[in-house]
Symmetry: C2
């Protein structure tokens, strides 16, 4: 097992919620993202939140998706509480109609290399 020899500290990280989207044409994306940020700040269960707009990936790899959103939680129970939080449900009603396509992945993170 090279893993144990090289880095014995492979650790479980947070519970992560990744959302990759392409918005419909004509959507006011900046307003939506501001709404998303506001929603996140109103829900303590969300440990961290970052997002970005792709500037670099090749078209073939990006496949039309433009934005990535990442939230982290201190475990699955906190994530579950977020999923059913009234503010989240309310915001989903605004967010969902703006989406042309989406991929969502929810998983316990394996933190292999931690920021120095």
């Amino acid at each position: 097992m090279w893993r144990k020899e090289l880095h014995p500290v492979v650790a479980m990280g947070t519970f992560n919620h990744y959302v990759i989207v392409k918005f419909k044409d004509g959507v006011a994306v900046d307003d939506l993202i501001q709404g998303l940020e506001k929603m996140v700040f109103g829900i303590d269960h969300v440990k961290s939140f970052e997002w970005g707009k792709d500037i670099e990936s090749h078209d073939m790899l990006r496949q039309g998706f433009t934005h990535a959103f990442l939230m982290t939680f201190n475990g699955k129970e906190e994530f579950n509480a977020f999923q059913t939080h009234p503010n989240h449900l309310e915001f989903s009603g605004v967010f969902s109609p703006a989406i042309e396509k989406i991929v969502v992945l929810d998983f316990p993170s394996n933190l292999v290399k931690a920021p120095a």
Copy 2:
């Protein structure tokens, strides 16, 4: 601008590289991920690396994708150095043939809510 009132510290974070994949049937995924971890530890430009296997998202939202990989870099120049690093290019030759479908997004991260 509610943003400034609510949280004036919206900050630029790292440069992020997100890879979402579905592996081909029969692929030895654990071996591939060990190879990926080894590659990451051999390239100092990679600031952090975490990954996970979806356990929770609805089929409709997951869309067949199973794994997410996230690397962060201290800026785009570090990311560029990673992209052309010999170890990365060598590993891509192993990784790419194992992929059934993939989405890649590369972007400067907007860190809205930082881990406490």
